[in-house]
Point group: C2
Chain length 201, copies 2
DNA sequence: ATAAACATACCGTACGGTCGGTTTTATTGC
DNA sequence: GCAATAAAACCGACCGTACGGTATGTTTAT
């Protein structure tokens, strides 16, 4: 059910996530759906929480293979966001993330996530310069949703490189013309996530 | 009518901008309102266009008093956004801007505006470094809507200074403004929970 | 008199949510 | 093993309502 809800949100926007639609997509009736979630809002929040957990996983994975301590989280954050950005509208984050900002409940979930995450990485990602980088990543992500055609790939790559470079310690800043060294893997396009422990039909 | 619609959107979110509400706020009936606008979407778009025009004015005003050509538009953009950001939820942009991203029509209006504006300032604001600054401004604006408590004023000022500095030509960069005087003003006055925007009326 | 600016009443609908009943699944007692 | 039982998952019909939109008057300025 959560997966179907996420799919609908990703494909048709969060406004299209109606109890009917989700129930039908999950081959259940509205009654059955509402048996598991007390209402629509809890459903949405569950979807969003699920998404946050996946983002956590991705970021942790990226951080694990990053030798440089300084800015490790910010780099992973940037990479993760650029991956989502590159996926464009197909990414679950496209439609959900944007509507998240319009909803008070989801907004709280997001800011809590961010706060917790930053707190966890004080010491490596506390520098002011890094927060600018993270904000820029957010802005780029936003812009890519905004522009109907999206930013073109070259521009995206360039911005990605710029931001990545800004996450390195000061003395490491360099303008190499040999950019594409990021750890973005475009594997598992299907991402069948069944880490949901529930046994729903 | 446009003003009332904008007010409602700013105060209670764009979801609260219903034909009824706007009509009542403007001391008209729904029929009277729909006499001037063929539907809801055109109304919203009119409000948004109005907002864009005001933003244009503000930016033009800021650019007029900027002696330095390089990055002039980006500086004005940043300043304008930080002014809006500082106003927090009271700013019309708070609720409207965010919902703009969720709506295809408004998204188009915005990207058109941005494209036109950038095209107009090719030559002064074409540098890659400047686009990063603009994206960061967007991200900060977004974050300030996101965080329930908002970023605190000191943090905001610091980010503003950082971005402004980044809009200046390379040889003008200086790094001594914030000499690592402890990152302690990172603390948030814990959750001023006023994030529920609903009011009964 | 003519058209614009309204008002009033109404319609269709889609949505969130409720409720009572039915089926499936798990647990228990023997 | 197996029936009895409890609990959960699930169905289907229904309700209230709020919203966008329409269609037809009624007032007001020109």
């Amino acid at each position: 059910m959560l997966d179907q809800a996420a799919r609908i949100a990703a494909e048709q926007g969060l406004a299209a996530v109606t109890l009917q639609a989700v129930a039908q997509a999950a081959s259940v009736t509205k009654g059955g759906l509402l048996h598991h979630f007390p209402g629509k809002q809890p459903l949405i929040e569950a979807v969003f929480t699920d998404l946050l957990a996946r983002l956590d996983e991705e970021i942790d994975g990226l951080m694990a293979i990053d030798a440089q301590p300084y800015g490790r989280f910010t780099r992973a954050y940037v990479d993760a966001f650029f991956r989502e950005t590159r996926d464009g509208e197909k990414s679950p984050w496209a439609a959900i993330g944007i509507s998240c900002m319009a909803d008070a409940g989801l907004r709280l979930l997001w800011s809590d996530w961010m706060r917790a995450r930053l707190e966890r990485h004080v010491g490596t990602d506390d520098a002011p310069a890094l927060s600018v980088v993270r904000y820029a990543a957010d802005g780029i992500w936003l812009a890519n949703l905004t522009e109907t055609a999206g930013l073109d790939a070259d521009e995206l790559d360039r911005l990605h490189d710029d931001l990545k470079r800004m996450t390195r310690p000061m003395d490491d800043h360099r303008h190499d013309d040999h950019p594409h060294q990021d750890n973005l893997h475009h594997d598992n396009p299907h991402d069948n996530n069944q880490h949901d422990t529930r046994t729903l039909r």
